[in-house]
Symmetry: C2
Subunit: 430 residues, 2 copies
Amino acid sequence: MNIQQEAHQMKLVSPLMANTSNELRNQALTAIRKALVDHQTEIFAANQLDLSRAKEDGISDAVYKRLKFDDGKLSAVTEGIDQLISLADPIGRVRLHRMLDDDLEMKQITCPIGVIGVIFEARPDALIQISTLCIKSGNCAILKGGKETRETNRVLFSLIAQAAVAAGLPDGCLLQVTQHNEIDELLSCDKDVDLLIPRGSNAFVQYIMNNTKIPVMGHADGICHIYVDAAADFAKALPILVDAKTQYTAACNAVETILVHRSIAPDFLPKLADAFQAANVRIRGTKEVFDLLPGSYPQEDIMQEEDFHTEYLDLIASVKIVDSVEEAVDHINRFGSHHTDAILTEDDAAANYFLSMVDSAGVYRNISTRFADGFRYGFGAEVGISTSKLHARGPVGLEGLVTYKYQICGDGNIVADYAQGRRNFHFRDL
Amino acid sequence: MNIQQEAHQMKLVSPLMANTSNELRNQALTAIRKALVDHQTEIFAANQLDLSRAKEDGISDAVYKRLKFDDGKLSAVTEGIDQLISLADPIGRVRLHRMLDDDLEMKQITCPIGVIGVIFEARPDALIQISTLCIKSGNCAILKGGKETRETNRVLFSLIAQAAVAAGLPDGCLLQVTQHNEIDELLSCDKDVDLLIPRGSNAFVQYIMNNTKIPVMGHADGICHIYVDAAADFAKALPILVDAKTQYTAACNAVETILVHRSIAPDFLPKLADAFQAANVRIRGTKEVFDLLPGSYPQEDIMQEEDFHTEYLDLIASVKIVDSVEEAVDHINRFGSHHTDAILTEDDAAANYFLSMVDSAGVYRNISTRFADGFRYGFGAEVGISTSKLHARGPVGLEGLVTYKYQICGDGNIVADYAQGRRNFHFRDL
């Protein structure tokens, strides 16, 4: 079968998957956990194959760390599965229960989205997190992982799919896609795939968004800002800025642009320059930023207005001076990507203005932007971070993987009776 | 200013609109209600111009009724505004309040979507409903109504926008687009418009969906089904089927396909044919349907499998015999448009199977599909009906016009401390 046929088949399986009990889905998760632990030697061996090929290809240390699947990562994912099992059933929840009339009962009930396609980077733990999140939320899933971990993915997927079906989940509820050219085939399955979640580079996510009619959840840019207010506590600000830039520089929630209030700039900017120098971070900024710093700076680091759209994903930060919290908010709403932005301040009024007016999925006070993550929000795990305003925003866990339907039971009710005034609605929430 | 500049301007106004109080938004709604009542003579006069031009163009009675704005419609919309005023504030609601650690407090707070473009059919009451829903939910709105009511729309919009701004809402929170060629310009505003809601013909909605990067909420097809089960009560079934087909034939929630259980078909189908003949409804169906009906039928009314994708929006219905509730569900999930589908049965097991397994925004038992409507669900009004599974499904009222943001306040927290085990998360829901 080709991907289109497989996706069509999965669409027919999805109502069965949607109607499995939480007990059965938890049993499947328990079986998956056991299979991963029991077969760890096999998984690690497959991972070694991926790692040695990657080494031959000369990958960086950072990428090597992501590809590697070891004891530590296994215990992290089994802990994640335990968390998922302990979470309440996200489906079948009655979000609204209303009598429309004496004999007309309406329920708004949560249900799975259906068939979800996830295309993700080369990280073996991602495959486990995504498939178990989809199972817990009653969704069928088509998974395509990065080719650099293909051996590990092959073993992991086969263990997970077999354990899930052996535990009683419907045959065909999970599918792995392994060939890069199959991505385009997946993008054409808009009749059968309900949602795509692409993770990866900006260019890759943009490609997906531009080449499919399937709704896409996720984000392309992650241009996060930190605004250092006039009332910032420098002792908090400097470690936060270093953390937000360096703790995981390639992450979408790393800070890219730092806005500094003019009144503190002469005092603060030299301290920031020292802290960033110690952390190997290069500063780019407007001319007035460099005027406040000692030494000379290369001409190419002097920024113009339009340069503030840049996402570096590197040890580089844009710095700009602003006159007020209002100007900071305007800059962020214009140049940001509506991902995660923070204010550093001890002034409640400035903080409240910023938190209310910044139009982003995450608005923070006095913390690092790196906290934007499903695990850190207590969601157990995440399938991605959404900068869309529709459906799910921010880190997407179980809640973002369900939708709802309206179920109404009556006794022969017809609209003509209500339209012509023979009967009237009597709304009453239960 | 052209539409792009106007939309960009509106984007900058949207955070101000998002932060207006419920009290102020209700004051604006009260002022709008008053302006509509005070200026009714002016509105009715403008409507007369539209109506006479429409008559010259030779429109049908049904369309004439939709274009007409009279005393009855005015009191319906003012009643709708009163309902909206009485509804709780949809924004600023804390949906999740969680301590991530002792000094790290997270809130998931509802907020408006931002800038919404609504393109709607020639119905003056639609303009009022949509603009007041957007105001109550703190959204800025760009409105484009059908050209057949342009005089009425011009007067209505000017009364509404003036009353809203005079009451204190931000200048520029509402915009009217009047030229058809401006629709394409609106479709290109993906940087500034957060959501498009097109209403109208299948072809028109498809055109919008295919020609913009802005998320689109709504539906193209409305292929609704009613399944008459073996355990159906005929006394309920016949009036429901007539209502669902004829009460408003051109509506998206009118029934298109009727599935009848084989065991009752010989008894039920002749009764259905009589009821439909009395209501002027033409039956199309599979050959075995006609074999159970008296008289002869034109060859063109005999349907093949692929014909069941048809949405008639006319006094025509597709009829098919199925062997079981399972077959009915399979047919609906394959040929339906995931809008609204009903089962008619006195058998709880069949009903529960149907309600669980049919993958549609509305799943009904023993009532007409015509109930799929925001007013009938007690939402006050609706901006449209969504067949998307993301964000909002079914009739979209206030709830579908808000999103949320995550707000986290800390005290200098950095991720490195948590990643390296110096600190641990202590999740605690408040």
